[in-house]
């Protein structure tokens, strides 16, 4: 009887852990993809309005086809050719570097040391570029509208593909990662189709901060685990507490970011005071 009770408890704990992992995976990929979809939507909207929807949508279709090919090739190569711990190391390292860049930019923005993203401004710039470009038709479409849409969707889409592949393979759950990205795509594109304007009200900078924290957390966890490939047995390195280290890592990155924003903000204010004082003294 006690053995059965213990077994039931283990099963319960495991199912909770699986659910939390799945929810974390879904949320991370959803948020990261939503930001990229918003940015791609802004570019396509600007091209559609200024250069015509036919060329803008042709660019989108071509980019989606190219992304599908890249996803299939990269996913197959990573999953088939690399042993598990080496894949964890390679993919975890890429995710970590990528995530830390997001986090760094988010901290600098929050501290007032870097300009915030403004989709309305990006849209105005793209519209101005679209209106100013010369008309040139190739393959029956407006070439400028096609190329700008293609590049916008391909580059933003590549980031989504990268996040889906890295998260999906490391969590051994590509379908959930893909579902998170698909859900973000449906919501953002649906909202864009209804609003017919850039989604400037989406709190992009806040979402990017959250995504930076999540990518850094999972990247740190997986990259360090992947170092096990150099151990005698070649098995993944173990964090203290196993998967329970993930929330601790997330809390650590949150605390670090909180302190960093405050220190950098105080430093920039002090710097402005010094420069302000120098300017005043010079004026005297």
């Amino acid at each position: 009887m006690p053995a059965r009770a213990t077994g039931r408890r283990v099963l319960h704990v495991t199912s909770v852990a699986v659910t939390a992992d799945t929810a974390g995976l879904l949320l991370s990929v959803f948020l990261a993809s939503a930001v990229e979809f918003v940015e791609a939507l802004t570019i396509v909207l600007a091209m559609g309005v200024t250069r015509g929807w036919r060329s803008a949508l042709a660019g989108v279709a071509a980019a989606v086809a190219a992304l599908a090919a890249v996803t299939a090739l990269a996913g197959y190569a990573l999953a088939s050719w690399l042993p598990e711990s080496l894949m964890q190391l390679v993919v975890g390292t890429l995710l970590l570097i990528f995530g830390l860049q997001w986090l760094r930019k988010a901290i600098l923005r929050a501290a007032g040391l870097k300009a915030h993203n403004d989709e309305d401004e990006t849209y105005r710039e793209e519209v101005a570029a679209g209106r100013g470009a010369a008309s040139e038709r190739r393959l029956g479409v407006d070439w400028f509208g096609f190329v700008v849409s293609f590049k916008g969707v391909f580059l933003e889409g590549l980031e989504i593909v990268f996040i889906v592949i890295t998260f999906g393979l490391n969590a051994d759950d590509v379908p959930t990662a893909a579902a998170g990205a698909a859900l973000a795509g449906v919501l953002v594109l649906g909202a864009g189709a209804i609003a017919h304007r850039p989604l400037a009200r989406v709190p992009q900078n806040t979402i990017k901060f959250a995504v930076g924290l999540l990518l850094s957390t999972f990247g740190t966890f997986w990259a360090v685990e992947g170092l096990g490939v150099f151990a005698a047995g070649g098995e993944s390195l173990q964090w203290p507490g196993g998967d329970a280290a993930l929330p601790v890592l997330l809390a650590t990155w949150c605390a670090f970011a909180w302190v960093a924003v405050r220190v950098l903000r105080a430093g920039s204010v002090a710097g402005e005071d010094v420069h302000g004082g120098e300017a005043t003294a010079a004026a005297r």
Binding site: L227, A231, L237
Partner: protein
């Protein structure tokens, strides 16, 4: 040649991004970790948090450099 350079530039911007210190720092920390793992000098439970702390230090350096620009 222009195509190859453009391809390399794209991946550099995509992965390394604004600050090369982060990419270099992460690679150095993980390389040091790989050496420790290969020699078996430290237990996993000690090494993993140490490497995590080193990664935090890398970001701190990058942020200080970013703030000075």
């Amino acid at each position: 040649m222009r195509l190859v350079r453009g391809f390399g530039r794209f991946w550099y911007d995509f992965v390394v991004g604004d600050d090369w210190r982060i990419a270099l720092g992460v690679v150095v920390v993980l390389a040091a970790g790989a050496v420790v793992v290969a020699t078996g000098a430290l237990a996993d439970q000690v090494l993993a948090p140490l490497l995590g702390a080193a990664i935090v230090a890398v970001v701190s350096v990058s942020l200080v450099a970013g703030a000075r620009r």
